[in-house]
Amino acid sequence: MSAHDALRLERLAIGELAGVDLTLAPGEILCLSGASGSGKSRLLRAVADLEPHGGEAWLGELAQSATPAHEWRARVMLVPAESHWWADRVGEHLAGAEPADLEALGFMPEVLDWQVSRLSSGEKQRLALLRAVGREPAALLLDEPTANLDEATTRRVEAWLTAWIRARGWPTLWVAHDPAQIERVADRHRRILDGRLEEREEGAWT
């Protein structure tokens, strides 16, 4: 797996969105905002190749359409707003989770023995991030990763995520609503307006 690759979208088209061109440098976080229903989540799904779409996506020299779909998704990993779990116990989904990461997200190591059914939505969201990061992707697509979290936990998750992203050099598309969060984590900010991606100047989105 080649580390530190850029993520490039080339005339990507899905639904209302047409011809999205975007390049994310290694380790760069691009925040994506827009009204609900504007197509943020669908854009992420297109980048992860979960829906039929137009255009092409590149990870370094690797073209989406030339890579087996499961290998592409293992590298360009989408973490949806609502996570889903298939086995009974948390640990079955999180093979080899580091205690340090669990602690950083506010969990004791015992969480691995918990039943998935007893997790709250906030706990599920944090563990889903850990589940995705633990699989060592090469790029991240985050769909409102802190939607179900309180203020203090949000800060904690942001710090943990950005540390991972910078250390591993993952280009990251981060869908966010909260202007304060965008200010904290984003290197760049784009807003979806009328089916187009609009560049936002820092501090100009109030």
């Binding site: 992860a48 190749d49 979960l50 829906e51 039929p52 087996p68 779909a69 499961h70 290998e71 998704r73 293992a74 590298r75 990993m77 989408l78 973490v79 949806p80 609502e82 996570s83 889903h84 779990w85 298939w86 589940r131 995705a132 699989r135 992707p137």
Partner: protein, 267 residues
């Protein structure tokens, strides 16, 4: 040992009792009278017709007539499999997958049983071929229909789980693995139950019929065991093929879950 002749007026006596049951249902306002009488009438008409067909078929005993009858049975079974699915695959795939799966398993096992195990002369002798194929198709049809229905319905309900597994980089086979196992289980469960209960809870219909027709019980038992094994083989391989093909069809070439290939249930 001869079979006691059954006259039509004796059947009429039994029919009268069914009518009496329907009458009771009307009196008690249970609303079952109509469907009961329709089903009873269908039994009489369908079986009388198939009796006529079998009489002609047995008299002729020609391979192409037997093959034509088998083809007709297969197509009706395929239609039945399709009709029993709530969220069937669109574009003829529900019919196609079900029919091909039943053809591959039922026909292969029936021909194998006839040529290698029972060995009538000629091998397609309709007295053996048609009842054997009928039992195979009837059971395989149930298994395939249950399995495909479970497969598509569960995939629909658990679409978010399947997609989340895909997002984590799993192959489609892995992402749908639990659902495939569940579908296989529901397809094979009736057959496994029937084998487990045979002779203890229920006396299988074919054996009962053979004994009534004067066969020694020991021979009837041997035939029943043979038939149960062939039914298991037919249902098992048929369900296996249908689940494999059906689950593949739920995904496209890019391993995306394509629930737009399923029909929405009526009503």
């Amino acid at each position: 040992m001869d079979v006691i002749e059954l006259a039509w007026w004796q059947l009429a006596l039994a029919a009268l009792l069914v009518v009496a049951l329907a009458g009771c249902s009307v009196v008690a306002r249970l609303g079952m009278a109509r469907s009961l009488l329709v089903a009873a009438a269908r039994t009489v008409i369908q079986l009388a017709l198939v009796g006529l067909v079998l009489e002609v078929l047995f008299a002729a005993s020609r391979l192409h007539w037997v093959a034509l009858m088998a083809l007709g049975m297969l197509l009706i079974a395929g239609r039945e499999v399709m009709a029993r699915q709530q969220r069937r695959l669109l574009g003829g795939w529900a019919f196609g997958i079900g029919t091909v799966a039943m053809f591959l398993s039922s026909f292969t096992v029936t021909v194998l049983t006839l040529t290698v195990i029972i060995g009538p002369e000629p091998w397609y002798r309709p007295q053996y071929a048609i009842p054997l194929l009928g039992m195979m198709l009837g059971n395989t049809m149930t298994g395939v229909a249950l399995a495909l229905d479970r497969l598509t319905d569960t995939a629909w309900r658990q679409r978010a789980v399947i997609e989340n597994r895909l997002m984590l980089g799993q192959r489609w086979q892995e992402a749908v693995g639990d659902i495939r196992r569940e579908a296989m289980r529901s397809g094979l469960m009736p057959t496994i139950n029937a084998m487990a209960a045979a002779g203890v809870v229920s006396l299988p219909g074919m054996m009962t019929g053979q004994i009534l027709a004067g066969s020694p019980p020991a021979l009837a038992v041997k035939y029943q065991i043979l038939v149960m094994f062939t039914i298991t083989l037919g249902t098992g391989f048929g369900t296996l093929a249908a689940v494999a093909a059906g689950s593949r069809r739920l995904f496209d070439g890019r391993e995306r879950l394509r629930l737009d290939r399923l029909a929405t249930p009526r009503g």
